[in-house]
Amino acid sequence: MATTLPSASLPLEETNIQAESQWATVLRRFMRHRMAMISAVVLVMIFTASFLAPFITPFGRDTIDLNNRFVLPFTPNSETGQMHWLGTDHLGRDYFTRLLYAGRISLTVALVSTLFATIIGLVLGVLAGYFGGWVDMLITRTLEFVATFPLFIILLILVTVLLENENLIPIPGFILSFVMWITAVTREREAQVIVLVTVVIALLFWTGTARLMRGMVLSVREQPYIESSRALGGSHTRVMTRHIFPNAFPPIIVDFTLGLNGILVLESSLSFLGFGIQDPIPTWGNMLAFAQSYMFQHPWMTVVAGLPILFTSLAINYMGDGLRDALDPRMKL
């Protein structure tokens, strides 16, 4: 061919720009997505505030103050003069405080169960896709069977059944104390409930990730570099962890963010309906359920109780959108 590639004719020093790593590219592309960046900042703020709750607010999580019930937002306490930024609920508990703690619990449950569901899905998906044969058959059949169940109904039933005899499944003490530390609950029973809800959600919602991962692995497996790695004597474990996993990974990030939002909303709906985590422990869902029962006398309560879940949900979705665009090489930004 007479024509040469344009890059070949460039002077050397110009081509010698240091190559950007894959993740740096993704980050750069992500930063271009304005809504996603705003959402990321909002999310970081919500997370930090939730986990610094005891230092931010002077009120206790469950401190009942019957002289200050249904206090409007931006009104000081009638006795101590401390500001109730978002008002108080039907027992005089400070809304701002409870929303912070609720965020701590709701976000932890959502994050941990999504993380576990994703890990289960990842491992099973990689195994099924890589080995094929009877492993694939077994995993795919299990997956289809789990997916046959109407998940929301099963989740309602399982949570009801397990929470009423929470001693059915023994939970190791160190997990309980870890959960108590991270969600700032004081009683062991509360931690038990939180762990059970998390585990049940994780065990039911891994099928999507597994299916996605299996598909990705099936396409990556046929690439020449996998064959060369095998030919060079790489073990199955090495090929899976060093070559297949990193190459099949990017879509999982998007899947994770969307799954996180799904599970956050799911857990809120669950406690909104009166299942799952119950009242003295605040969650965004059960606080909204209480607000609903006082809706006619105090309409502002629903707005106050509902806004955090709305903002978080929107922010996570926008972030997922931004990540999808940033990770898709075909997308021009």
Partner: protein
């Protein structure tokens, strides 16, 4: 096709049996049975329940039968009594359960002592005669409700709630289809136009909005605030009102709505229907848009345009028909969504449908009702899969079922 149908129906049957086993086992560990409440009462004093009472109650709820026997009696209504062939009675003495247990001390020759539970009064197949039992859920007999409608058949309960759910889901799905399809197609055809951007943003918000929050906000605005402000308002929940109410129209005239009238029902219907419609329009229009974009890139669309087919025809006939194929999966999903698909919306608006029945049943430990609803959903889901598979062959001749 026949071959395929036979195989699929057989597979469906296997899955139903397995899934029923799992769901029955799930509720078997459920607490809050009739004995629990009675034992708590017993500690009160005066009306102590005796051993005989416990045995009677156990027999009534079949708690004295072994798990597999209970399962088959619930699932296919078998065994009901000993098998009689001619005058001969078989298996009359077969032990199927245990009414009372006894703890005995076992002393081994080497000195170890162990306590073991043995059956003091066994229940045999002959004892089952005369007990009431369902004909099996597989044959459509769901058994009796225990709490919500005490001792009335669950099917009565389900039939009384079904019209509400079908009305809500049916009408909202119809409206959704009428809005989402044109919206999705138009967005795809005018990709990146201001209209597309606006539609995408709105549907994006719609899909990430928690349903219950959206429902509550609608109640807040259209029922609570509007009523407080003296504007025309909508009823906040339920399917009908208990007494007549008056809706003001800006002081011009007043509308008296009779409780239970058609107008009353329509007014109660608007808000829940709006929530369901908005949420599904958001999801479905995005789905149709992306599927349409995919098809519009295909070679045959370019060929059609190159032939000089009118743009309208290209979009409607060449592209749209093919874009609908993945849509079939979504439509088949409507069927299982009948039960719990609107559970949250129904609960927010206090709408007496199947979804709220499920929530009520679980809240009040009426596990037989919950189990029946779970079972119905399972079957509907499998039927939905089957229908979508068949629809695929109709829509796309390249797919062959074999």
């Amino acid at each position: 096709m026949t071959n395929f149908l036979i195989r699929r129906l057989f597979q469906m049957f296997i899955v139903i049996v397995l899934a029923s086993m799992v769901s029955y086992g799930l509720l078997y560990i459920a607490p809050g049975g009739p004995l629990l409440g009675l034992q708590q009462q017993q500690q009160g004093g005066a009306n102590r329940i005796t051993e005989a009472d416990i045995a009677r109650i156990k027999a009534r709820f079949e708690l004295d039968l072994y798990m597999p026997v209970r399962f088959t009696r619930w699932f296919i209504g078998f065994p009901k009594e000993p098998i009689t062939i001619g005058d001969q009675v078989f298996f009359a003495d077969l032990q199927v359960g245990c009414a009372t247990t006894q703890t005995v001390r076992l002393r081994y020759p080497d000195g170890r002592v162990e306590f073991a539970e043995i059956c003091a009064t066994p229940v045999t197949l002959a004892d089952l005669e005369g007990r009431r039992s369902s004909n099996g859920i597989l044959f459509g007999d769901f058994g009796l409700s225990q709490v919500i409608l005490r001792d009335r058949p669950i099917s009565t309960l389900i039939w009384s709630r079904l019209p509400y759910t079908i009305a809500l889901m049916g009408i909202s799905t119809l409206i959704t289809l009428m809005i989402a399809i044109p919206l999705g197609v138009y967005s795809a055809v005018r990709q990146y136009s201001p209209f597309d951007t606006a539609a995408t943003t709105v549907s994006f918000i719609g899909t990430s909005l928690p349903t219950f929050f959206f429902g509550l906000m609608l109640i807040l605005v259209f029922a609570v605030l509007a009523k407080n402000a003296g504007l025309p308002y909508l009823p906040p929940g339920g399917a009908t009102a208990n007494r007549d109410y008056i809706i003001p129209f800006f002081g011009l005239f007043e509308l008296t709505v009779q409780a239970g009238s058609f107008l009353d029902r329509v007014l109660h219907f608007i808000l829940p229907c709006l929530v369901l419609t908005f949420v599904s329009v958001a999801a479905w229009s995005r789905f149709i848009r992306s599927s349409m974009l995919e098809v519009l890139r295909q070679d045959y669309v370019r060929t059609a345009r190159a032939k000089g087919v009118k743009e309208r025809l290209v979009i409607l006939k060449h592209a749209f028909r093919n874009a609908l194929i993945p849509f079939i999966t979504l439509v088949a999903g409507i069927l299982p969504a009948l039960v719990a698909g609107a559970a949250i919306t129904e609960s927010v608006f206090n709408w007496p449908g199947l979804g709220r029945l499920l929530v009520d049943a679980l809240n009040r430990s009426d596990y037989t009702v919950a189990l029946a609803l779970l079972y119905v959903t399972l079957v509907l889901q499998l039927v939905g899969y089957l229908i979508s598979d068949i629809l695929y062959t109709v829509a796309d001749p390249r797919i062959r079922l074999s």
